[in-house]
Structure formats: C-alpha cells, structure tokens
C-alpha cells in the first residue's frame, strides 16, 4: 500500500497529525476534507444499544454504518444475560403484577442514591415496554416468566431464552444484517469527531486495523452519529485516574471496554459525568458472605461488616487493601456451621470443584497458609464470636440474623474475595432524547447522540440490577428515532 500513496492518503495523514497536535476537531477546514465513506448514520459500537439504533435507522431507510473496534461484534452485551426490567411487560400483565414506570424509577433512584437523573430513570421506565416490544418484533426471544430481582419492588425482570447472546443479540444481529441499508466495519476504531463551523457533527475519523498496519479514514454522517460505545471497565489507566481504588481489580466485561471513545466525546465537548462511580460484582453470591469473618491478609484483622451490600463491601475491601498498601485480596473464614448455612448447598461442591473454597483443619493452618499473624487472627475470631453471641457488632455494626453462628467448628473453610469491575456508571451526559450535551453551551451538540453504558448520570451511585439493558434499549431506540425524525423532516 505504501508504494501507491494517494493524495488522499497523504492529506489524511497530515490532517490527523494536524488535528491531534494543534487543532480542535471543529476547526478543520471543511472544504479540504475528502470523505472515504458517506452514510446517513454512523453507529459506533455493535452492542445492544448500537444494534437497536442501527436496526431502527436502517429499517427507516437511512443508510447506516456500524463500526466496531474489535474483531467480533456484540461487545460486552454478548457476555451478559441481558435480563431486563420492563414495566408492564406482557409477562408482568399475564402474571397480574401491578407495576408502573414511577415505581421502577423510584427503585432506580433508590439504588442510585439520588445521584441518578430521575427524568432519565422515568424515561427508561416509560419506554421500556416499547423498546422491548421493538426487539421482540425483531426476533428476540424471552422466557414465559417474570423474575423478581433484588432491589425491585415487584417482579418485572424478563429473561432472554438461553442468555443474552442467544436470546437477544444473535436474532437482532441476524435481523440487522438482513437489512440492505446496513454496512459494518469491524476492527475500526472511532476517533476524532468532526464538526463543522456551527458545531454540528458531520463525520468521524476512524482508525482501521490490519494485521500489520493501521490506517485512518474519514466517514461522513449526514444525519448523525450515535455513540453506543459501552464502558471503560478494562481501561486501567483511565479508571485509576478516576478511582485509584480500582487500579488492580479485574473486570467481567469485554476486554475492549476502554475509554477511548469517551475521551473523543469529551474532546468534542461532551460533559463527563460520574466517571469515578463504578459497580462491582463478586464471583460468589452476596448472601453467603455474612456467615463468615472477613480478614485482611496483611493486617490479619477484620475490617468490614461482611453482610453489607455489594457496593459497600467492594469499596471497603478496596479501601482496606489500599490503606494497607497490599495487592492481596481478603479472605472470608467459615467454620462448618457457616458453610452449612449456604442457601444453595450445591454451591459448596461447585466451589470445591473449581477450587474457589479451601478446607483447613484448624485456624492455625489457615494462618500458616496465608502467612497471617496467628495471635491477631485468634483475637479477631474471639471478638467476632463475642459479637455474634451478644448480637451486637460493636466495630462494624453487622446485623446478626439467627442463622449466623460463631466460628468454632472445625474444619474451617476460606474463600478469597475478589471484587470485580462490572459496570461503569460514568459517561457523557445526554438529555432524555439521547442527545449529547455540550459542556460550554449546555445545549445538545447537533447530530451527536449517545446511548447505553457510554452515557453517564443515568444510574447514579449504583446501577439497579437488570436496568442496564432497558437503558441500552430505550436510549438506543430514542437516539435512532430522533435521527430518523430529523432526517425525515429535512
């Protein structure tokens, strides 16, 4: 390729150099731009939100280009169960469960501790059924049941058949690529957002990977660009800047969940929101934590109420690790009674098989194995047992229900507790029409939309379970609807 460098190529390269070094995206000389591709809509990201937007745009006759950074499409959505909370879904109605959007919004607000934008929550709740019906029409398949998840006032979660990838993503992708107006570029990363002089977004610069080289292209989007780029859970440097506690932890998300798109959005003037707020997950159920005593491996001491919520627990673990400058994750020590209290008795066997749980004949052995201070551990356990007996945790105010017992029956068991990064609530701020708001003017940036995890401020402190999917659905759909509406008016 290098042998036949065209003028276009040359220009491109110099332009990029110019952009990245000295110029703002908006200051480009429009007339000098030569587009490699011209479409109506560019959808960045092939996850659920992006797929929904693409389908809507394409089926309404807009020429749609979907670009995906990695080799495969689907992103983190392929890894998720995509269970979704839908208000007044057919299943809910069939089950005769009374639900209304305000109730879901309230639940979300509760989980978000008020940091969430209520109108967004309400918007999601109101449009959830519509969005769901949209994907059902496109082939998404759901179980004939309604699930009651924690944190929800009523049973409103519906579950895709055989998980998110099979039940939702595959039928939607199948539908999407059956449409003529759609084209897909994989291994293509969205970079600088190109604006004209009025601040209107007119296109995008992309970087196309090859086996040996990469090249920059410019794509023109006549109607608009939708950013459905997901979160940045895997972007270690960026997330550490936002929240130093999460420097070392691993994530359950797709490996390409990086913050690059977010950075270009911010560069384009978007308002970053809640970038330090993150949602954690544990590989073991939360409800078995409370039966044991959690110990920091460096200080050999107890540091948290084991029964606290997953956000709090994860935060406490990370705090404790950070304070004591250790990379070692804490352990929970169970005795036989503790292990027997697990609600799901199949768990224990599964854990033994996967070697998640370790068995010890005595506390001493545990200390030896983890290089703990024996006296300290013994003291901690004695104190803990005293708290259990008295029913009052003087240190961390743990609530001792009747089935939490003191730790004294050998053999003992330990599980290493690793919080994992599951979701980043932070992103760019959008209005209820999925338009990205400009930081300076506080008005929507024309033709720039965002949906899904790429947005911020919608969920707040913690995202309510099974509410990410309706977020993606609703805002993916709304963004597409807005573009289509505007395009058709012109």
């Amino acid at each position: 390729m290098n042998k036949n460098i065209t003028r276009r190529d040359f220009l491109k390269t110099t332009a990029i150099l110019g952009v990245s070094s000295t110029l703002n995206a908006v200051d480009l000389d429009l007339k000098s731009i030569l587009w490699d591709e011209e479409v109506d809509v560019i959808v960045v990201g092939s996850g659920l939100a992006g797929t929904v937007s693409s389908i809507y745009c394409a089926q309404n006759g807009l020429k749609t280009l979907m670009i995906e950074k990695s080799r495969q499409i689907g992103g983190s959505s392929m890894l998720s169960t995509l269970e979704m909370s839908i208000v007044n879904s057919p299943m809910q109605r069939k089950a005769n469960i009374v639900d209304f959007p305000e109730l879901l919004a309230k639940d979300m607000n509760k989980a978000g501790r008020g940091l969430n934008q209520y109108e967004h929550s309400l918007n999601i709740a109101k449009n959830s059924t519509r969005a769901m019906e949209f994907i059902v029409n496109k082939g998404a398949n759901f179980y004939q049941k309604v699930k009651w998840e924690k944190g929800h006032s009523v049973a409103r979660t519906i579950c895709p058949v055989d998980g998110g990838a099979r039940g939702v993503m595959q039928p939607l992708h199948k539908h999407l690529f059956s449409l003529n107006e759609v084209s897909l570029h994989v291994k293509t990363q969205a970079r600088t957002i190109l604006k004209d002089n009025t601040g209107k977004v007119i296109g995008i610069e992309v970087l196309k990977y090859d086996k040996k080289s990469f090249k920059t292209y410019r794509y023109k989007a006549k109607a608009g660009i939708i950013y459905a780029t997901g979160g940045y859970s895997r972007d270690q440097s960026f997330r550490t800047i936002q929240n130093p506690l999460v420097k070392y932890i691993s994530s359950t998300t797709h490996k390409e969940s990086k913050a690059d798109a977010l950075k270009y959005l911010i560069q384009a003037g978007a308002i970053p929101v809640h970038l330090s707020l993150m949602r954690f997950a544990f590989s073991i159920p939360m409800d078995i934590m409370k039966y044991g005593c959690m110990l920091n491996l460096k200080t050999s001491s107890r540091f948290v109420d084991e029964g606290s919520s997953r956000q709090e627990l994860a935060k406490a673990i990370l705090m404790s690790m950070s304070e004591n400058n250790t990379k070692k994750y804490p352990i929970i020590v169970y005795d036989t009674n503790g292990v027997n209290s697990f609600a799901d008795n199949g768990l224990l066997k599964q854990y033994f098989k996967t070697k998640i749980i370790k068995k010890f004949s005595s506390i001493k052995e545990i200390c030896k194995h983890y290089a703990l201070n024996e006296n300290k551990v013994a003291k901690e356990i004695i104190t803990y047992n005293r708290f259990v007996k008295s029913g009052i945790d003087k240190k961390f105010n743990k609530f001792f229900s009747s089935n939490i017992k003191d730790i004294n029956k050998a053999p003992y068991y330990t599980i290493t507790i690793k919080p994992k990064l599951n979701y980043t609530q932070g992103g760019v701020f959008i209005d209820t029409k999925a338009r990205v708001i400009d930081l300076l003017s506080n008005r929507p940036i024309e033709n720039l939309y965002a949906a899904g995890e790429a947005t911020g401020g919608i969920h707040g402190y913690s995202r309510l379970i099974s509410c990410s999917t309706p977020d993606c659905l609703v805002y993916g759909l709304i963004a597409a609807e807005e573009i289509v509406k505007k395009f058709k008016m012109q």
Partner: protein, 581 residues
Amino acid sequence: MKFKFTTISIKSKSLIFVLILISVLFLILYYQNKMSHKSYLNQVETEYTESFNNYYASFTADMLKYYSTQVGYFSENKILEHIKTNNNQALMNHINYVFNNLKPTNRYLKNISFIKVNSKLTIDREEIRFDEDILKTYNPLISNINNRDRNLVDLVVKDDEVYYRLLSGVFQNYELLGVVEFLINAEVLLESIKNFDGSKGFIFFKTYGEIFKKYTHLDDKEYSKFKNVAFKNINDNKLFKINQQYFVVKVFPLLDVDKTIIAKTIFFLDVTDKNISYEKSLKKTIYFSVFLFILAAFIVNYIFHYLITRVEVSENKLKILNINLENRVKEETDNRMQIEIKALQENKEKEQLLINQSKLASMGEMIGNIAHQWRQPLMQMSAILMYLEAYGENKKLTKDRLLTKIEEGNSLIEYMSSTIEDFRNFYQLDKQKEQFFIEDSLLNALTIVNASLASHHISIDIKIYDEQMATNSYKNEFSQALLNVISNAKDVLIQREVKEPCITISLYREEGKNVVCICDNGGGIKPDIMNKIFDPYFTTKHAYQGTGIGLYMTKMIIEKNMNGSISLNNRESGACFKITV
C-alpha cells in the same frame, strides 16, 4: 512313587499322616471361618436392605408430614385472599417469607412454588412462570390431589439435579385454590442416612445428555475412590476394598410417583472393622496353624523318633537275639546239664551220706537191739554167776550143780553169739537178688526188734492170709525197710503212751503182688504232715530219738531197689503203712 513311598521310613510315614491330619483340620477351621464371615456379610446386606427400605419409608413419610404442615403458611385468610384476587406479587412476597423461615432449619430445601391451576401460573420466590409445558408435567399429579389426599411426594430431575417434590393442596371451603410445591434436594436422603447409620453413598441419575450426575456427601477424593468401583459393578452387592477400607455396596432405586426409576442411590456400608477383625482372626488362625503345625511336626518328630528308635533298638536286639539264640540254648542246656549232673552227683553224695547216716543210725539201733537182746542173757549169766557164788559160800556147790550151770552159761553164750551172727547178717547189704519169702524177711526184722517191743509191752499181731508169699529181691534191704516201719510205729506208740499198744502186721496178695500192711493203734498221723512223712530229715520225734532218715530210706528201698510202692493212710485206730512189692 509308590515304590518310593514304601521305602519311606515308618517315622516319616506317620509324621506325614499326622501332619496331613492337622492340616486338614486347619483347612476345615479356615473354611468354617470363611463361611461364617460370608454369612455375616450376607446378613449385613439383607439387614441393610431391610433397614434401608424401612428407613426410606419413614424418611419420605416424615418429610411429607413435615412439609404438609408447613402448608399452613398458605391457609391464612390474607394469603387466601391474595390467591383469590390474583395478587401474585404479594404471594411471591409471602413465598419468600416462608422460604426464609424454613431455610435455616431445612438446608436442602431448594425452592417453594405455588401452582395456580386455573390461571396456569407457577409462582416461586423469584419467578412467576406461565409455561403450559410446566403445567403439563404437574397436571396428572395435581389431579391426584383432592380433599382427602392433600399431599403427594414425587421425585423429579430438574436442572441436572434430583429433587423430592412435595405437593400439598391449599383448600378453601373444599375448593382447591392451588398447590404448594416444596423442592428438596435429594441429597437430604444421603445426609439423613449418614446421620442415621454412618453409611456413605451417592445418588446418580441420567440426564438428557446421558451423563451420570451425582450427588454425594463425600468429598471429591472419596467420590473418586468410590466412583470407579460403584459404576463398574453397579448391580452387584459385593465387598469392596478401597484404600484398606471395606465396604458393602448396596444399590437402591429411587422411584417417582409412577414407580419409574428416576435415580439410584449407592451406599457404602463401612464394614472395615468387622473385616479387619475377620482378617486378623484369619491371620491368627493361619499363624496359629502354622505354629501348631511346626510344633506338632517337631513334637511328633521327636516323640516318634524316640519311640521308633526304641522299637528299632529292640528290633535289632531281637535280630541279634535270634541269631545267637541257638548258641544260647546250647550253652544254656549244657549249663543245665552240668548243673543237673552236679545236682545228681550232689544227690548221690547226699544219698550216700544218707545211707551212711542211716547205716550209722542202724548201727545205733542195732546196738540198741543187741543191748535189748543181750540184756536178759547177760542177767541170766549174772544170776548164774550169783548162784554159783552163793552155792560156793555155802559149800553146797556140787559138781552136778556146777556142770548144769556151766551148761546153762554155755547155751547163753551160744545164744548171744548167734544173736550177733543174726545181726551181722541182717545188716549186711545184699550184693545180689535172691528168692525169698516175705514171712522170713518179716520174722528176721521182728527178731531184731522183738526185745525192744517186749520191753515196751507192745504186742505184735501177725495175720498171714496167704501162705508162701515169695519175691525175687534184696532180702536184707527189705527186712530193714520193714524194720524201719515197725520201729517207727513202735516209736509213735511209745511217744504217745498208748494204752495196750499193738502193732498189727498183715500179709496178703493183691493183684498178683505181695502186700505187707503194718498198722498201729497210735491215733494216726496228722493230715498236714502226711505228705512230708517220707521226706528226708523229717521227724516228729525228739532229736535224740530219730534222724528223720528211716522212712525216707524205706521209701527208697521199696520204690527204687525193689520197684515196689509204699503208701500211708489213717485208719480208726492209727496209721497204716501199705508196702507193695
């Protein structure tokens, strides 16, 4: 071999025999031991089956009973109202409440569902399902639930697990509003049985993928230990050895409500203790047997050795004896002969001595008899001499008177001289046999003893029944013999001082032989000494009177020299000697 066997020594043969006996005994012991253990295992197994069946029945009954009472949670008016008004969220809340109440004490409780038959809904603590298929699986069961039989227990495979499904009807005014389903992991059975009798085991079943799924309260190590054994021999009730532990394996089918086998349980009943003790005892018996065997071999060896060497020694001795026996016999007989010859010689010498003695005694007697014979003539001679002296003093001695007296004296001397002659002849031993009359011989004897008898006033009565009794023999010896018998009678008569002593002598012939019978009236001989009367040196008399040889000599003379016989018997008056020649 046979030839060889026969060549084995007696010792080895008997040793082998005894040892074979002992080994057979031990084999029998061993076999008995083994059989008893086998029967023990059989018994264990049958008992185990029985106890399992009983236990299983009571286990399911208890479970059903327990959970059917928990249905009371759903009979509250409020809840019934929720059910009726289809307030499913409230019902769900309630199910969660019930579940959270029950779970801490029922570890294996998996789920609680409420099945609304009419609205085709299944509500559990997390979900509300409306799948027609699920209802289809319930329908036949629910049709079994009525006002009378409100509860039902079933076994079901779900999500790759086996569960006990307990269905219990919720009624209001005899109207079935719904059914409560408790799902309990079948592992509860394993746990329960483990607590009951300590037997370990697992449940296995086939899922759609034809894969054996298992539940077990064994940890992974134990499971992998048991797995191979159990699945290989799934229908066998055998004894298994796993890591030096012994187990009786028993497979029980678990049936659902239609009596189809949903899963099977395998239990491993630990019989290690029993088996180890059995093996120990077996080892002990073997050790003991070997020990006894060796001991017996030693003992038998030594005892047999001892006994057999003794036998062999005596056998050898016998052989040697046999070889030397003839020589011995010869030597012995020679010795005997010599001894006998010696004895004969001695006897002869003795006899000679006796004869001499008897001769001396006869001499004494002869002198005594001569004295008796001569006393009177000597007195007459003295009287003659006294007559001659008296007539000489009185000068009346005439020539006639003197001549007469000398004549008298000469006849006396002549008489005495003839007496001497008689005696000399009498005691002279006969050189050769001669023909003589018994009567003459008797008279000769009487001549010798006559004077002695007269001096003791012993009368002689001679009765001769047969005349001319003659014999060819030694006359003087016979006379001496008679004399001895007469002298003996005389001595007895004198010794016993018998009134009117008398010796009767009868002569007669009997069966062609001559018999002299000499009887006295001295009262007879005591029967106890009758046999000894002819023994030499036997006497009842005082030492000065007799030598004890007389009758012995008589017997010798009669029996040996004359081929006659002498016998003795008692008659009324006294003893009677019968001499037959």
